[in-house]
Amino acid sequence: MDGGPQENGDSTPVVRVEDLVKTYHMGSIDVHALRGVSFDIDKGEMVAIMGHSGSGKSTLLNLLGCLDAPTEGSYFLDGELVGDLSDDALAAIRNRKIGFVFQSFNLLARMSALEQVEMPLLYARDRQRRQRAEEALAVVGLEDRMHHKPSELSGGQQQRVAIARALVGNPSMVLADEPTGNLDTATANEIMELLVLLNQERGITTLIVTHEADVAARTQRVIRMVDGAIAGDDRTARESSAV
């Protein structure tokens, strides 16, 4: 079953994808990573995209994150078509509208937490970036670790820095790729709690790609991917999300 566009009242969906197809050419073989995917994500939703490796979930995340362009189909972000744009135009969209959280944190080794969080604002030429970065770090609970480098932080703290970096530019949505994949269970729980809290209290639209059922269970909606197509789109009441 395809999760078709959802009727959800007045506001424009943050994400609308229609018949998204992505085909990679590996030599003479065509790899069909996505075979026509359509769904909407509304503002304030917290969605998990689940699937085994090779199911196309990472490809979908790259397309939604404007890191790659689809072979066919349309992608509307905040109601605007992300079409055949230049690299720089895509960079600007990533900068303004998308916050990334990666499995391996992807922090820069030389920089303090504060500088990591300032970085998106550097490219946005934001004059108040110091202050805004400090605020974002306070939101993730790292006000006393602002001047530490990644090597001086625990895995959970590093992921918090990454989340602060994703949040600092007030993006339309946060894309998290296996955000708890490199963390132990207790820390993974803390990070999930933080993401849920941010979603609930600040209404941040969040998309989490995961293969862990525990993680998916904390979201309101689970999109299951199998072989490049959507195999299920379940809206569930969030159970254990209360903090």
Partner: protein
């Protein structure tokens, strides 16, 4: 990203690899220092030669036999086949009392060996008149100069240059001593003051005898008419004005043409400026040549920058991926790496300019043709070297920076 942020980022990145950065900078330092030091030495040689030519007396005209072409700095001397300038010409010029001429000094050169005690010295002997000391500003340090009486009597007297004096009479007072020249005995009447290098021949290596003595006793040489041949006539002018030089040149030319009964000049009149310019071309070429050799090391320094920037781009692929994912545009990445390259090259350029300047200033010990060479530091090579180092940073930095800027974010993020 603003330029200030770019510079700050570049400093951080360079500081993260201090040894590597220093070695890359060192390549530029050596290149720039070599260019500045060598070009300064070239300029120093030029300045010193010029000063020495001027030191032989300013406002001079030189009349030499034969037609000598000054084109391209090459002098074709035909005086050997048609010796035309004579002592009588010199006397005629003196007697004509041409306005603007203060004094004249005819000379003739020959080569001979001087022997005193067990020492011998092979050198240039110049036959001169008493006016030579004034005209060529070359005075005895001790003793007396050749007099009119010496000239009249064709006296066997000789004035030695500093170098000859010390070679032939080490630790002794040569005045009154005798030297043998062509199996004749000459009495030393003077040791000339130290003069240094005039053109390519040091006057400290020359010995002066009365012109008449040279003519009759050492190396007789006459025209068919029986006149005494001279190698050169030096003329002192009242001033250095273009007008004076031109007027005197015209008068002397007319007089000599009349005396030689020719319509085409069979002599050449050169000013000191002509000689300086001809030599300046030679030393200028030398300076450029030295600079070009040093420029090769600058090029090698530039290649070093490119090399290290390429390594850096590969190493930092993941960083580039992260930056692009969070919104860095191509230009941001390009500028970041370009600034790094330019900082390295400019840093090397500044340090190299300082070191090259110091080398040029304190390289007094370097000997060139028996004479200590001084650097002559001018602003031009410094400005040039700095501009060139910025250009090198840009030229050799653009390829690695562009490679970084064009990385695709997904692939860069996947890079381990």
């Amino acid at each position: 990203m603003s330029l200030a942020d770019g510079v700050r980022l570049a400093f951080r990145a360079l500081a993260a690899n201090k040894l590597r950065t220093s070695l890359t900078v060192l390549g530029m330092v050596i290149g720039v220092a070599a260019v500045i030091a060598l070009m300064s030495l070239g300029a120093g040689a030029q300045a010193s030669i010029e000063a020495n030519i001027r030191g032989t007396g300013s406002n001079l005209l030189f009349i030499s036999p034969g037609v000598q072409s000054a084109t391209g700095g090459r002098f074709v001397d035909v005086s050997a086949t048609s010796p035309t300038l004579t002592f009588e010409d010199a006397e005629a010029i003196r007697e004509a009392t041409i306005p603007g001429i203060v004094d004249i000094a005819p000379t003739r050169n020959t080569n001979a060996s001087l022997v005193a005690g067990g020492n011998a010295f092979s050198t240039q002997i110049i036959g001169v008149t008493p006016s030579y000391a004034e005209v060529r500003t070359f005075q005895p340090q001790v003793g007396r100069f050749i007099s009119d009486d010496d000239l009249r009597r064709r006296a066997r007297v000789i004035a030695l240059g500093q170098t000859i004096a010390t070679e032939l009479f080490p630790g002794q007072n040569p005045i009154g001593a005798t030297v043998r020249l062509n199996n004749q005995t000459f009495t030393v009447i003077a040791v000339m003051e130290e003069s240094g290098q005039a053109t390519f021949q040091s006057r400290d290596n020359q010995a002066l005898v009365p012109l008449t003595t040279l003519q009759t006793r050492i190396s007789p040489s006459r025209t068919l008419a029986g006149d005494d041949i001279v190698s050169e006539i030096s003329v002192t002018l009242a001033d250095e004005d273009e007008a004076t030089i031109e007027a005197v040149t015209n008068e002397v030319s007319a007089l000599l043409r009349l005396r030689h009964d020719v319509t085409e000049d069979d002599f050449t009149i050169r000013t000191q400026q002509d000689i300086i310019e001809a030599l300046g071309e030679v030393t200028g070429t030398l300076t450029l040549f030295l600079g070009a050799i040093a420029g090769i090391s600058l090029l090698v320094g530039g290649i070093g920058i490119m090399n290290i920037m390429l390594v850096s781009v590969t190493e930092r692929t993941r960083e580039i991926g992260i930056r692009k994912a969070i919104g860095a545009r191509r230009r941001d990445i390009l500028v970041q790496f370009l600034i790094e390259a330019v900082l390295v090259s400019l840093g090397g350029g500044i340090a190299g300019a300082v070191i090259g300047g110091l080398l040029a200033t304190y390289m007094g010990g370097v000997s060139f043709g028996g004479r200590a060479l001084e650097g002559h530091l001018t602003p031009e090579p410094v400005v040039l070297a700095l501009a060139v180092s910025v250009a090198i940073g840009l030229v050799f930095g653009i390829y690695p920076a562009n490679r970084a800027a064009r990385l695709r974010p997904i692939e860069a993020l996947r890079y381990e």
